[in-house]
Amino acid sequence: MNFEWSAFFDSIPNLLGGARVTVMVALVSLPIGLLIGTIVGIILTYGHKSIRLIAQCYVGLIRGTPMIVQIMFIFFAVPVLLGVRLSGLSAGILALVVNSSAYLAEIVRGGLLAVPKGLQEAGLAMGLPMHRVISSIVGPVAFRRMLPALGNQFIVGLKDTSLLIVIGVGELTRTGQEIMTDNYRAVEVWFAVGLLYLVIISVMTSVFKFIERAGRIS
């Protein structure tokens, strides 16, 4: 077959529009997911038994069901249950927040558990209350160790936005699908789509590398 460069280049402007949606959805939902994941992770590690059980159920429920089911549930079932209307975009963002927070919570828990117990004791022995031991000592030490795993989860999260295709969000994968049904140039279009994901994820990887370097203890 011949690779039709014009089909490749013609698809780029539209695909960039889709890429913008992909990046926007990820940029909004993953930081919120990290915030919730951090809170849930702290509860999983230090929380009182009863509240810890709730957090465990949350994580278990999210990790125990496919993300595509969660997307469908939030877009189609939640409006029925609550009598509200959700746009595809907001349902998608919500799904990604909920889904990523559960995985991020486990990363946070793992990071906190990996900090030697002695650091916590050193903070407590100075007269610091527990919440400040976590925020000033255990948290910062754990965060540095969690960065590779967090970066990994952010990459997974960004790629998970492609699942929003099923509820009609015009992100990168959906845009590619639309162009292909129009011009039937599968090779050129999916090549371009893949390339754009690669570029976005490379940028994200560099940002995480930068943060890791900035926090390195030399």
Binding site: G118, A125, P129, V141
Partner: protein, 242 residues
């Protein structure tokens, strides 16, 4: 009133009774050394003082405050009792200077300038004036432990608790740490030291406790107890340490 007052203190971990009916008073400026075999309860006894362990029975008063008191009482006890750990436990993400500034900034509410002045002064005192910008990973064990002592002193405690401060150190690095401790003792700091350094205990201590099976078997003058052990248990323990 005594600075420390143990009355009928017991500590159990599940079915294991680590401390049994401890009755003990310690006055200010005493330098108390605690020795005993591993598992005799000496570290637990120390850790009950600053409530890293909660006691199961009895009461323990530290400078007028009970370890069974409110959270606020417990934090006040901890401000009065600086602790030095076997594994140093320096904060790895902070430099030596920042480690020592941490207490004044976070628990004493000092300004950055005050905290820095005090930290620099203490690091010079422990002989690390040229190591302030180093992270713990860039310091030797002896340097780390001296930084940890400076960090504890920066909170301005009225008493220092040492939990086997030299046990994780190479023999040639121990004297650095012991030198700093001796200086503190000379300055009149109240100190409670869990250790295996018998010679140091004899030279610096004003009092020696020998723990055995969770009870204080001997309590007396270090020089006398070590020169002439009153029990077969203590003399056999001393033979095994040397």
């Amino acid at each position: 009133m005594s600075f420390l007052e143990f009355s009928g203190v017991a500590k159990r971990f599940g079915p294991v009774e680590v401390l049994k009916n401890i009755n003990l008073t310690v006055d200010q400026k005493e330098i108390v050394f605690i020795i005993g075999a591993s598992g005799s309860g000496k570290s637990t006894l120390l850790r009950c003082i600053n409530v890293l362990e909660t006691i199961t029975e009895g009461d323990l008063i530290v400078d007028g405050l009970s370890v069974r008191g409110t959270r606020r009482d417990i934090r006040r006890i901890r401000l009065e009792a600086g602790m030095v750990f076997q594994q140093f436990n320096l904060f790895p993400h902070l430099t030596a200077l920042e480690n020592v500034m941490f207490g004044p900034l976070k628990v004493r509410g000092s300004s950055r300038g005050e905290a820095r002045d005090l930290a620099e002064q203490l690091l010079v005192k422990v002989g690390l004036g040229d190591r302030m910008a180093n992270y713990p990973s860039q310091l030797s064990g002896g340097q780390q432990q001296r930084t940890a002592i400076a960090r504890a002193l920066a909170v301005k405690p009225r008493m220092m608790l040492f939990d086997e401060p030299t046990s994780a150190l190479d023999p040639e690095l121990r004297h650095e740490v012991l030198g700093v401790m001796r200086q503190l003792a000379d300055e009149g700091m109240t100190m409670i030291v869990v250790t295996h350094e018998m010679k140091f205990a004899r030279d610096v201590g004003t009092r020696l406790l020998f723990l055995e099976g969770g009870t204080v078997l001997h309590d007396g003058e270090p020089k006398l107890l070590l020169a002439d052990p009153p029990s077969e248990r203590l003399s056999s323990f001393l033979r095994h340490v040397h």
